[in-house]
């Protein structure tokens, strides 16, 4: 976990490998069996050309990165906003990175604004977004 953050602090990255088995496990855990995720014969006939990972699986990885870096504050005071630019597919290796862009204090609370990106192994951006995490002022 980061002990101190400031503007420009890089959040330690997370790297995950996407497999169809992982996608199927997530479908079972979440109850989301949309065939675009789990049915190759269906997915191959769509414009996406094959199965894709659940967006919420990628968000789980982003959330894990934030929690590992920033601790419990992320679980009760985190805010996340992302856009899915490209799908993550079985066989992809995704790397999630983040950076603290600014820290603002208001009414005794510090708000760290972070930019987030998720790339695949071709260095294509698949998810882009922002996160905000709040701390008691002076504890960031």
């Amino acid at each position: 976990m980061l002990t101190k953050i400031h503007e420009g602090t890089a959040i330690p990255s997370t790297v995950k490998h996407i497999t169809q088995e992982r996608i199927n496990l997530y479908a079972e855990a979440s109850g989301d069996f949309n065939p675009i995720h789990v049915d190759e014969s269906f997915a191959v006939q769509t414009p996406l050309g094959g199965t894709i990972a659940h967006g919420m699986l990628i968000l789980a990885y982003i959330s894990e990165m934030m929690a590992l870096a920033l601790g419990q504050s992320w679980f009760a005071g985190g805010k996340l906003s992302v856009r899915f630019k490209l799908p993550a597919r079985p066989g992809d290796t995704v790397t999630i990175t983040g950076r603290v862009d600014s820290i603002k204090d208001k009414n005794g609370v510090s708000y760290a604004n972070c930019s987030l990106e998720c790339h695949n192994q071709k260095d294509e951006i698949i998810v882009v977004g922002e996160a905000v995490i709040k701390f008691p002022e002076g504890e960031s």
Partner: protein, 132 residues
């Protein structure tokens, strides 16, 4: 459970609320599915917020019939409080907007999750893109 189709939805439509007990076995299954590093002390007692978001989405999806191939376009989430393993959450969702741009149809859904004390633990907004 009866399902409602995209065509039937109107802004303001509220999906039936669904409650979940976040048992340790349910959360263990989720953590295995997301390949959690499980290095966080907090995960021994509390539910990862994305698990709650996943169940809130599932609660809504259970009563919504979207065309196969619908995909997630964007997501906003805000986490307000720690939720202990074993807690019961109540997931509520409603249609915020329906958008049509040419052949493209999008649905914006608002999600709110409350604990047993009726305190909000999480809120979010999901945008789903439907196949043309």
């Amino acid at each position: 459970m009866a399902t409602v189709s995209y065509e039937e939805l109107i802004p303001g439509y509220e999906f039936p609320a669904v409650s979940y007990e976040l048992t340790s076995s349910l959360i263990s299954k989720y953590l295995r599915a997301v390949d959690s590093l499980n290095e966080l002390e907090v995960l021994r007692k509390f539910v990862p917020p994305l698990a709650i978001a996943a169940y809130a989405m599932a609660a809504m999806a259970g009563s919504l019939s979207l065309p196969p191939g619908s995909i997630h376009a964007s997501q906003e989430l805000e986490f307000f409080k720690l939720v202990p393993i074993g807690a019961v959450i109540n997931c509520q969702a409603k249609v915020a907007r329906k958008l049509t741009r040419g052949k493209l149809h999008m649905l914006v859904l608002e999600l709110n999750v409350f604990d047993q004390s009726n305190e909000k633990v999480q809120s979010g907004k999901a945008t789903v893109m439907l196949p043309a």
